[in-house]
């Protein structure tokens, strides 16, 4: 499957990050077109395009914009550039290499809801990126695309960057808003939702969109909703940046139409598994989504929002961590659990205490001091965390326990069995790179 680059355009135009180059290649034409339309028309186009949020939840972007009440005088667009999910590094590449497309997309969103300001919330570690982005925003402001009286419309909308300071939870939209207000980054009780009066930034109606989501918008406005829907599948339109890391020859970001299979992505684009090893497991959505064994069924499943559910996982942010046959999945569970233990904001007891105990018991199991009951114990603790917290972090933190145990029970058993039963775990069904079916066949098999 080849792609036309909607997002990673630097692959074709290396200096696209520069304002002049961006403009020379059609940049800001979409914004001009958008402001010539009524805001409601822009929302309709984005709705019709089926663009879904690329931060992980996959919520329809146009629908989200449509929730904003029109008659409120102050409204905000907040760009979620807090990218902190284990295995995710796509928004960084957009901001580093194609920043004006994000700025343009965010300004179109701002026009659509008639926002008064845009805040781009970047994780603190993207320090240099934020400072570079400030300069890009200034370039756009001087050209009249941002700031006072945008393109002579009489509508004014400022754009600012804001740096976080090392907290995964601030990627959760309500925690992000708290953080932006200068408070602890902890999730809010909803309703009211950010789109509602009282629920957004400083209590004003607010749209929070991921970087990659907004970077799609200029293309959609320029080419139309129908053209966008031609890419990908019916329910998952467009291209997606797949972040591939772990045991692959060529880790990196791959922009491909939604509906590409793991088989193609991992073995063709990312070069397969190094050192002649077999693939064992895949985390399709970083640390927070369910892990899956790399069976033929999984490898041939189209990477779409609707199809990933069929193999018991989610597309999420498409942060694909690949593991070969040498990887001990109990160790993986422990690594991810340490992540969530560290990143739990501490507000909700099940998450704060649960992650602490999961980590402690996993350490015991890995040290060879666990019992078979310990496996049941952590499974039980994790299941009791699900649905019991204000935000999704509690559910995310439960996933690495529940699905590692469910899908790789032998990896746990070997740590708690007496020595004589400690047999090596055979690798799960390996991939046969040569035996790959056509993408077309795989796609129809998934329908």
């Amino acid at each position: 499957m080849t792609t036309q680059y909607i997002l990673l355009r630097e692959k074709e135009i290396p200096d696209i990050r520069e304002f002049d180059v961006y403009v020379k290649n059609g940049g800001y034409e979409a914004l001009k077109k958008a402001v010539s339309m009524k805001p409601a028309e822009v929302i309709e186009i984005v709705k019709a395009s089926n663009l879904r949020g690329r931060g992980g939840a996959g919520f329809p972007t146009g629908v989200k914009w449509g929730f904003i009440p029109q008659n409120e005088p102050i409204k905000y667009v907040v760009v979620n550039a807090d990218e902190s999910e284990t295995g995710t590094f796509k928004d960084r590449q957009i901001m580093e290499n194609n920043p004006h497309q994000l700025i343009e997309g965010a300004m179109i969103a701002a026009w659509a809801i008639q926002a008064t300001a845009v805040y781009i919330y970047l994780r603190g570690e993207y320090w240099d990126i934020a400072h570079d982005l400030d300069k890009r925003i200034e370039d756009a402001r001087q050209a009249g695309f941002v700031g006072e009286n945008v393109l002579g419309t009489g509508w004014s909308c400022m754009m600012y960057t804001h740096l976080g300071a090392g907290a995964y939870i601030c990627g959760e939209e309500s925690a992000l808003l708290e953080s932006l207000e200068g408070k602890l980054g902890q999730p809010r009780v909803r309703p009211p939702f950010p789109a509602q009066k009282g629920g957004g930034l400083y209590g004003e109606p607010t749209v929070v969109n991921n970087v990659e989501t907004l970077a799609n918008v200029p293309w959609i406005i320029t080419h139309g909703a129908e053209a966008y829907k031609q890419i990908g599948t019916e329910q998952s339109a467009g291209t997606k940046i797949f972040c591939v890391s772990g045991h692959v020859e060529k880790p990196g970001n791959y922009e491909l139409p939604l509906g590409v299979t793991f088989q193609e992505l991992i073995f063709e684009h990312a070069g397969g598994i190094p050192n002649g090893k077999q693939i064992k497991a895949i985390l399709p959505s970083g640390g927070s989504g369910p892990i899956v064994p790399a069976t033929d069924e999984v490898l041939d499943m189209p990477l779409t929002y609707e199809d990933m559910v069929k193999v018991g996982t989610i597309l999420g942010s498409a942060s694909i961590i690949v593991m070969d046959e040498t990887v001990d999945i109990t160790w993986v569970a422990s690594k991810i659990t340490k992540f969530f233990k560290h990143e739990s904001c501490g507000k909700c007891t099940p998450c704060r205490e649960g992650t602490y105990w999961l980590d402690k018991v996993l350490d015991r199991i890995l040290a060879g001091k666990g019992t078979p009951q310990d496996i049941e114990l952590i499974d039980n603790v994790a299941k009791n965390m699900q649905g019991a917290t204000l935000c999704a972090l509690g559910d995310f933190a439960a996933n690495p326990i529940i699905y590692t145990i469910k899908n790789f029970p032998d990896d746990f058993k070997k740590h708690v069995m007496p020595k004589e039963e400690d047999k090596p775990v055979p690798a799960k069904a390996g991939a046969k790179p040569a035996a790959r079916r056509g993408v077309q066949a795989a796609a129809s098999a998934g329908d």
Binding site: S84, F89, D91, A165, I321, M323, F339
Partner: protein, 161 residues
């Protein structure tokens, strides 16, 4: 005092937001730059600038990991040992780096030059092993490349002394 020395930057930070409180994070960064860490003095100054209670600022500084609540080295090293990096040798890399520096996780070297910490995912999974030094990315490392960087920073620090 921050208010005089960084007047322009502080004013710029306040100008971004309708509420002074939102500037607490950018101001804490400025304070950390000045004092090397968010010292009690730094907390008090930021609190008074943002019209907040020092306790509120202290809680912010404690919540976010990029504010150091204790003195740290001139070079603050953050090594990602999270899953994706660990699959590409980050744990071994981190062990070797700690040994080379002679400091444990979260510690400062005796000469006060380096503080080393392991951190969670930094968004450079395809370029592991990696680290940040004072929030700047250093990627596609191995221990030899990292040692060369350490030596270079040591030499730089000696020169500026």
């Amino acid at each position: 005092m921050l208010a005089e020395k960084y007047a322009e930057r502080i004013e710029k930070a306040f100008a971004k937001y309708p509420d002074k409180r939102s500037a607490v994070m950018p101001l804490l960064y400025i304070a950390q730059e000045e004092y090397g860490w968010v010292s009690p003095q730094a907390i008090d100054e930021v609190a008074s600038l943002c019209d907040l209670d020092p306790t509120q600022v202290k809680s912010i500084a404690g919540f976010y990991t990029m504010y150091s609540e204790k003195p740290k080295g001139k070079y603050w090293l953050h090594v990602c040992t999270d899953l994706a990096c660990a699959l590409r040798g980050a744990d071994e890399f981190y062990e070797a780096l700690k040994t080379y520096l002679g400091a444990e996780d979260g510690e400062m070297t005796e000469d006060g030059l380096f503080t080393i910490e392991h951190v969670m995912c930094l968004g450079a999974c395809d370029r592991a092993p990696m680290m940040q030094c004072n929030f700047r990315f250093y990627e596609n490392l191995d221990i030899d490349k990292a040692k060369a960087l350490i030596d270079q920073w040591r030499a730089e620090a000696k020169q500026t002394k």
